[in-house]
Symmetry: D2
Subunit: 287 residues, 4 copies
């Protein structure tokens, strides 16, 4: 699924009707596009058409700065919500972390070896703990302590840093603070969180302890976009692992770390690859 | 794990302290037991010792009818809850079913080819639908319609049939009626249910519809002992499978059937093999 | 993914080049097709374009008996290999079985409850064992004993029965005879076998015994199209399950049955849904 | 399964016969042992008894330096192979690595956060690439280039370093050199390798390329003890993940990395916890 030439990716959602595929394909053909991937989905109950289409920019005769204007008539005719992105423009990702470092270490390692194609201009934390890891990776590390009293102020500082850094995506890598509504509204579908349970089971605090108390035989982790309702946003990815009566809470925490790392990193990669369309508090993950 | 000679299996739960393994092993050695399997577990938070021990009856010099009397002193000294079972005595299992036949067909097939070592003296249903399947397997099929008004009476008839058939274990193979408290109390840790979700997520009605609405990426099934609290009993086994945005509710139902069959049949087999100890609303599954 | 209106499905493979999606979409639009699903894949190393496209026949203005003639110019221009199928024409499936009944029972149950949309005009076996199961399902059961000496003659009889029954697909549900090259050549990409290992590991005889001897920690099952080379045909689906040192060969056989059933039935369903394209001894499974 | 008090762990293998559990339990009881875990296994086909027993040293009245002498009579009587280890003595682990850093990074992170209880006195590599990672973790990094001509000499240098460091366990974290027989014989059951396939499938070179060419639907990774026969040693752990026709070789490599990390780290942890008994080219993993 990797791509080595420059490409553009178009994500579309609109009411379903006949002729959409042909209309889009013809538009691209007019400019000599070489389609590399096309994937679509119809949600019948919502009568929605959703599509991801990626084409090579080699030989594409429409300059991308003119794309919006050229595509507008089709988009309007079919009442499309759409966005286009270019493989030449690396997304800029901020990572938020508290004390648990495993997700941060995992993300940074994947970034370093090229699994995550993005820039990481900053890491924000409410604790000093992970500074050495940030420095090892050459990424500025900003400690902004958060308490009940200074939350608005702390977030203002976070906004300032992120704007300066032109951040597109925020990843909460076990960041143990609840974001304000102001924060969440500012970055719709652009904040990815990892919750250490198989949602909707054990939402909220201390999921491993509650999983242990309930005696479940599998534990899970869930990555999702953050919305105003805690742990209720659109689910991007989930994974589970088997546990037994021999595992105490500490074992669950350990086994869970492996889930959290994998589930969060998949969500981040798919987001960076423009493979996620979110609607109706659900996600479509294009192949 | 299969056994071809006659054996006895002892399940024990008691407060943990030193010397329990030696005490039990010595007791069995006195009568020349050949231990085939021994597995134990300590629950530290509860300070509980739990053990399953299986030995061959070949050469065992204590007649099993005298076992209880001989073991009583040890059991009393250590405040043990215990039970012993013999591989020569096949458990007798009743299956309850409504209209969905997949779990019933699966259980009966496993029984026919020897995966489940038990007798099945009767099948009870509130519908006629599965009669042909019961007859194909040579098992009496009793239809007892259940409505709001006749529940007590219907259960009385069920009790009568089960007593006549000397039933040890009741399996609810997608039986769509809630059992009364009277029923549940009558068969503690002896009623196994299959719930078509990954509990505690989506307990109660229509789990597949709710999983679809929530946009989860995995669906599950859970087998558990039935207690007074609906879908809250000790979990025996769980399994999940991956779904995607392409799956509608009907697809979830279809994928779920495969989970339900596997998860229910495992629970039944482990129960029949005396491998489950239930305490504190959890289960220990001995290997 | 289920469909309730009549539909047509087109499977295409051809050299990859620009404009294929537009050409196909435009062709269908000319006749007012309502595209229900479209999925495509490019194999870069082979420069191949592969597509599955399904559209509703409601309002489609091209009579399907004229489809081949109308599509021929496009197919020729792009050197396409293609086939089209109609949801109104149920495929006809023959099942071959020997003594192990689990896959047969599983397939027939799925067929009975509507998971597999096909007709099953006959079951062929080299043993009497499964006759009762066939009869319970109302399917003619033909016993054709096979030995070294009579193989050609036995296959001739099998061909006669299958031609009479107009069979499209042959499923080997643990049929323990190797088919002749003549047989295999007669039904290219139309014979599905289940092998009880994770191919290419343990191809050939006694895979569970060899898995036990090697001490693997997972066992598997593989469904594949049968080709001249035993267990070497294009893999359709695989699944594994965990085992431990506690499992003896008999346990592996038991756990493996659950894999075999699931893996074989998925392959059959995908084939019946025209979701498999086979090339280069591999398969593309369209979503 | 974690332990917070000092404990001793005894691993035993011997011919199976009656009374072994009682003999061992009684021996430990004599010295007032508080048994924390006991797990046993009988291999019937080999008539072998295998046991792992862990007890608290708190209140244990036999000084551990006298253990061997005290246990000798029982060990001799039953022809036991055995070893005992103390939680107070941390095993010393050497890591070998070449250029791929993911397993190294993963192991070191787990070690840093306490998942792996051991000392890591040195890392040996045939390349400079991973030096920065070693230094970040404060571990001496020795580069010993290996070629066809200098293998014996290079290994001599490796032996010298490891002896100096009193190494107990060697982990090959994607070390791309084949060890000599001399090397392997020197550390029986003490060298753990990760192979990037589901063994015995795709042993030897380029497993991901071969998995891609064969068109498998799952890829795997295998950790095993190194023996004289390449990729043929006792398997400790295996895991698989699903792939599809959309995944090219590069995708397999990326998905495989996640398997390799998990599968190798589990093997290392189990070895460090004295939970692995190897016999007959297989492993028993005690719970």
């Amino acid at each position: 699924m990797s791509h080595h030439t420059h490409s553009a990716t178009l994500l579309i959602a609109c009411p379903d009707k006949k002729g959409l595929v042909a209309a889009i394909a013809n538009f691209l053909m007019t400019y000599n596009a070489n389609i590399m991937h096309a994937d679509q989905h119809q949600d019948r109950s919502e009568n929605l058409f959703l599509m991801r289409i990626e084409w090579s920019l080699e030989g594409f005769t429409l300059p991308m700065e003119s794309f919006a204007a050229a595509f507008a008539p089709i988009a309007q005719e079919h009442a499309m919500t759409w966005r286009v992105s270019l493989s030449t423009r690396k997304p800029r990702m901020a990572i938020f972390v508290s004390r648990y470092e495993h997700c941060l270490v995992d993300l940074l390692h994947r970034w370093r070896i090229g699994e995550l194609e993005c820039d990481i201009p900053l890491i924000i934390s409410n604790h000093e703990d992970c500074r050495r890891i940030a420095e090892f990776n050459g990424i500025p590390y900003h400690v902004i302590p958060v308490s009940r009293d200074n939350k608005a102020q702390a977030e203002a500082e976070q906004f300032r840093l992120m704007e300066e850094a032109e951040v597109d995506l925020i990843v909460l890598a076990r960041y143990m603070q609840v974001l304000s509504h102001t924060f969440v509204e500012r970055y719709p579908n652009r904040i990815i969180n990892i919750h250490h349970s198989f949602l909707p089971a054990f939402d909220g605090a201390k999921p491993y302890h509650r999983a242990f108390a309930r005696g479940v035989k599998l534990i899970g982790a869930t990555s999702h976009y953050v919305t105003e309702d805690l742990d209720e946003g659109p689910i991007i990815e989930q994974e589970v692992t088997r546990i037994s009566h021999r595992d105490d809470v500490e074992d669950l925490v350990q086994k869970g770390r492996d889930l959290e790392k994998v589930v969060l990193s998949r969500a981040v990669r798919w987001h960076l690859d423009d493979r996620i369309l979110s609607y109706n508090n659900k996600t479509v993950i294009f192949d």
